[in-house]
């Protein structure tokens, strides 16, 4: 398959660009967009190596070398934000990765088509809730007095529980499990799609040999999913350092900051937040440090995935 592909691309004759001028005209606007909004910000990363002042501008500001990075590495926040980012991310992977797979395998076994359809629609719904509303729902439902959590606790024990959002211990669990609630259905779509392509004759043959449904899940369905699972896991591992800013930021408060401050929120806090220092250079250095590690991870992971797919195919 792979060989075939390369030989096909190898024989494609590239056309004279002058004949395709209209095609390049199509590309003009997207190119301008990508250069202006993606590559210029990359070029602006130089301010991480400068002492940026608005008046002097990006190019007029003084060079300071790695001073901003060193400042970040030496600050007491450094290990804290790294640790928080990695822990939160790994926790999310460990919990949120297997569940969609299990769900897909289970839904695949359901024989009542109507129930299957309805179940699929319902579990996908939360995916469309915006981050702001999601966090709003979490706050409301888990409120220790007026939320479901507080009411249930009161009903069972007669007293009100501690405020979950004031305790740093609860932050990671709330963050990860609300994410699971919101996305496990959506994330299982890709596995459900892969399962529909399993040849039914495998199942028929196994059935004739007397294999139970459970056995068929383990010996037919799961192996069929394996390539997808590996690809998805590798992709997911590549994004360990990139915790989305939005949800963490919305769930952050002064009481849980010790566990909820991640690299991206720290970058924002230094540079733009009203209680930050407004130090654009330091903030950019923090962000750049994150992007570079992230980039390295993606490259490594891609290398691994190529290796894996080469050995696993044929």
């Amino acid at each position: 398959m792979k060989k075939n592909k390369t030989s096909v691309t190898g024989t494609v004759k590239k056309r004279d660009p002058r004949k395709d001028w209209q095609l390049y005209l199509f590309l003009l606007l997207p190119m301008i967009y990508i250069i202006l909004f993606k590559y210029i910000p990359m070029a602006e990363l130089v301010i991480a190596f400068k002492d940026y002042h608005v008046r002097k501008g990006i190019w007029g500001s003084d060079w300071v070398g790695f001073a901003n990075f060193i400042k970040f590495f030496e600050s007491y926040k450094f290990w804290r934000v790294i640790k928080n980012t990695v822990i939160l991310s790994l926790y999310a992977i460990v919990v949120a990765f297997p569940l969609p797979i299990i769900f897909a395998l289970m839904v695949n076994c359901l024989r009542n088509k109507k129930f299957k359809k309805v179940a699929q629609v319902i579990v996908n719904l939360p995916h469309f809730i915006s981050t702001v509303v999601m966090v709003g729902i979490v706050f409301s439902v888990l409120n220790s007095r007026t939320g479901l959590y507080g009411m249930l606790f009161h009903e069972l024990t007669g007293s009100y529980p501690e405020d979950l959002f004031a305790s740093p211990g609860a932050f990671r669990h709330i963050y990860v499990w609300s994410g699971v609630w919101q996305n496990f259905g959506w994330n299982s779509i890709i596995y459900q799609a892969a399962l529909t392509s399993v040849d039914p004759s495998f199942h028929e043959a196994a059935q004739i040999d007397g294999a139970s449904r459970l056995k068929r899940v383990f010996y037919i369905d799961l192996p069929a999913l394996l390539p997808t699972i590996i690809t998805m896991l590798i992709l997911r591992m590549g994004s360990v350092m990139s915790i989305g800013f939005e949800k963490v930021f919305l769930m952050q408060n002064s009481l849980n900051l010790s566990v909820s401050e991640v690299i991206s929120t720290y970058e924002y806090q230094i540079g733009l937040s009203s209680n930050g220092s407004g130090d654009f250079s330091l903030a950019t250095a923090v962000g750049m440090f994150n992007s570079v590690i992230q980039f390295a991870l993606v490259i490594i992971v891609n290398k691994i995935s190529k290796q894996v797919s080469e050995t696993s195919q044929w």
Binding site: Q22, L23, M42, V123, F128, G136, I189
Partner: protein, 297 residues
């Protein structure tokens, strides 16, 4: 004998998988129903913990309050503006980019693809983007919401893959012989034949616009340009800490803590309902899109 045993084993298995599926569906459904019921219940009943599943003392008070609140209306209007114009721009740029790159014999195709896909792996980050928007004079303008996200490279690749696999090169060659140039081919053949992917992309982009708050949060100062999500943030999240702004909602908060509780639920419903109502009808497109995306590798 053996088959009987097998059948009963299977029966247990099916029973268990139905049971777990039903439980999962209920876990997803329950908070949604709870929010919905609370939003139409009497505020005091909600505060006293009397609402568990069905509304108690049905009332639309909270909705009346929410709809009387001007900011919600302007937010809604702004979000519609951003969603519609943003999605149209997204579609135009994405298609303009995907169409030429779907041609295998385009000179420099690999290089151009690399230029685009590199931005998926590396980027400037929050501060450089902010500086750029400021230098462009887009701070506190509606453009800052629409333009910086004019195209998602991932979506462009999905679209390119679709065009590549669904519109045969032979077709383009045949048209060329008939004297059709690349513009005509795009408008007369590619666009009509790409309806399915255009629908998927439109939905993806529109949902993103509807739900996004980050750019608005960073770049907008005037509250009359705020999209709904920023207003929601004020009502749902910031309220915990700050209750002192100078509008009718703040008054409501201060006057009646309980009413404010149901008001939050009503706001959640008002903002999310449109997507929930549309979704079941378009879900098959969404799923198709996920699959088109997954075969790109």
């Amino acid at each position: 004998m053996k088959t009987k045993q097998k059948n009963s084993q299977d029966r247990v298995f099916y029973l268990v998988s139905y049971f777990i599926s039903v439980v999962l569906v209920l876990i997803v459904l329950y908070p949604i129903i709870y929010v919905l019921s609370s939003s139409v219940s009497d505020a005091d009943a909600v505060a006293q913990g009397k609402v568990w599943l069905v509304p108690v003392n049905f009332t639309l008070d909270a909705y009346k309050r929410v709809l009387a609140y001007n900011k919600v209306w302007t937010g809604y209007g702004n979000t519609i503006i951003y969603t519609v114009s943003g999605t149209l721009i997204n579609l135009a740029i994405t298609l303009m980019c995907a169409y030429p790159l779907a041609r295998k014999n385009l000179r420099w195709r690999g290089t151009i693809m690399l230029i685009f896909s590199f931005t998926m792996m590396f980027g400037g980050g929050i501060i450089p983007n902010y500086i750029l928007i400021r230098e462009l004079g887009m701070l506190n303008t509606r453009w800052s919401i629409i333009i910086p996200g004019a195209m998602s490279v991932y979506n462009m690749i999905v679209c390119r893959t679709f065009i590549e696999t669904n519109i045969a090169e032979e077709m383009q060659e045949a048209c060329q012989i008939d004297g059709c140039d690349d513009f005509q081919f795009f408008f007369k053949m590619v666009l009509p034949l790409s309806k399915a992917i255009i629908a998927v992309l439109a939905l993806w982009y529109a949902v993103d616009h509807w739900n996004s708050y980050f750019n608005a949060f960073l770049y907008l100062k005037d509250s009359d340009k705020y999209p709904l999500q920023i207003i929601l943030r004020e009502i749902l999240i910031q309220s915990e800490g700050m209750k002192g702004s100078d509008d009718t909602l703040a008054e409501d908060m201060a006057n009646s803590q309980n009413l404010y509780l149901t008001l939050k639920y009503a706001v959640i419903v008002v903002s999310t309902l449109p997507l929930f109502c549309v979704y079941p009808f378009v879900q098959k497109y969404f799923q198709e899109g996920v699959m088109v995306g997954s075969v790109k590798g």
